[in-house]
């Protein structure tokens, strides 16, 4: 399941990526690959560079050096714009439009098939709220409208920046089921989170700290290698090990 067809490039390949923001280095020499048809979790504390990395993959982040390849093409290429769905951390929808008006507009821009807005509304569990103004929805509901917009046109790659923040456990469970279902149908998902307990739901994990990659592994292998009981302690073990190695 993890490895795609021979010869097909990985969903994401990042090599020697450096990003500066305001003269400060935010990502240092980052290198990673994300296999197709999988859910990869991008975990790390707030401010470690997760969002910057995701923006670089979507192609909206100015980079200092290095390559970011997405589905075999340079990130941000025009040919990728209807193949990659992106959900920003703060919901990016029009508050003064209804749920359906938002989705219909984005569907036209993407050239998504007719009926797609209704399909994604149901997929994120917002049926019955189609005609509510986005601004009148709760924060969690608005986040799901934003997610629904990214599902339009069934993109091959979904980049989700903390999509489950502030959602109740039942909803989080539902969304992870949706993510799994999308991956089972061949989509690739890269999901960032600072909640380590979502790690067990991923096929692979990228652990980040201060703009560097601490680990790139399956959850089981990560725990075995560090001898930790959960991802939180594995993270701490890795940080301690790195500090020792440096000292």
């Amino acid at each position: 399941m993890m490895n795609s067809l021979a010869g097909e490039p990985p969903a994401i390949r990042v090599t020697a990526l450096n990003v500066l923001r305001g003269g400060r280095s935010v990502l240092h020499d980052l290198a990673l690959e994300v296999p197709r048809g999988s859910i990869t979790g991008l975990l790390g504390p707030s401010g470690c560079g997760k969002t910057t990395l995701l923006r670089a993959i979507v192609g909206v982040q100015r980079t200092a050096s290095g390559q970011v390849e997405v589905l075999g093409l340079p990130a941000g290429t025009a040919g990728l714009r209807h193949r990659v769905g992106y959900v920003t951390q703060a919901p990016s929808v029009y508050g003064d439009l209804s749920v359906l008006e938002n989705l219909r507009y984005f569907a036209t821009v993407l050239g998504a098939p007719k009926g797609d807005p209704e399909r994604v509304v149901a997929a994120v569990g917002l049926a019955g709220h189609e005609h509510d103004l986005a601004a009148r929805l709760s924060g969690g509901q608005r986040a799901r409208v934003s997610l629904a917009a990214a599902l339009l046109g069934r993109p091959e790659l979904l980049i989700l920046d903390e999509p489950t923040v502030g959602l109740d456990p039942v909803l989080r469970q539902d969304l992870w089921r949706l993510f799994r279902d999308l991956a089972d149908h061949g989509s690739t998902l890269l999901v960032s989170s600072h909640v380590m307990d979502e790690a067990s739901r991923c096929d692979r994990l990228l652990l980040m700290r201060e703009g560097r990659l601490l680990a790139d592994d399956t959850p089981a292998e990560l725990l075995r290698r560090t001898g930790a009981a959960d991802v939180d302690s594995a993270f701490l073990t890795l940080v301690a090990g790195r500090t020792e190695a440096v000292a």
Partner: protein
Amino acid sequence: MNLARTTATARRVLAQLRHDPRTIALLLVVPCLLLTLLRFMYDGQPQAFDRVGAALLGIFPLLVMFLVTSVAMLRERTTGTLERLLTMPLGKLDLLLGYALAFGVVALVQAALASALTLGLLGLDVAGPTWLLFAVALGDGLLGMALGLLVSAFAATEFQAVQFLPAVILPQLLLCGLFVPRDSMASGLRGLSDVLPLSYAVDAMSRITTTAGTGGPLLRDLAVIAGSALLALALGAATLRRRTA
């Protein structure tokens, strides 16, 4: 450029307006009320009303479209919807023309109401053809839109965006010939007023009210307005970056 995406954007902008009836009312009613007020201020001085009223018919569309566009585009930037759109297969031109189309419709409706009132009830005398009055009002509206779009790139907050009105539009208003005829300005000021697009908007409106037919100077004014709008639009497009720091 893609027609479906451009018209979808225009429809979306109009739908946003439709959900905000108070803004629509303010857009359409305020210019009419101000023109009525002006008519009574100049009661007994019909020539003065002809001059100032005509100038204002050119100024209102520019002013209002400038404000609406700069705030609307700033909201696109700060709420993340602009970034989302730029990761989608939407051309910058689709977005800009979509806005132009939607606000152009609003500018036309506003101009129709304001000029129907001014020409009909308030008794402004217009020598030239009425359709030209609309053409100039539309051009002014689009110029205001393009300028608003451009300055929105330099505003980080809505407070700043609103402050660009006195910074960008007021100097043009002072020098456009409304307060002091442009011919009797000191040569330095006259030169400055010559390079500000609002001067041509007001000149065009005055020409339509005073001379019949479509003369060369009027067409030149219209060309300057259209050219300035295109220039501002092109500069505005350059500020829409897919990649940001």
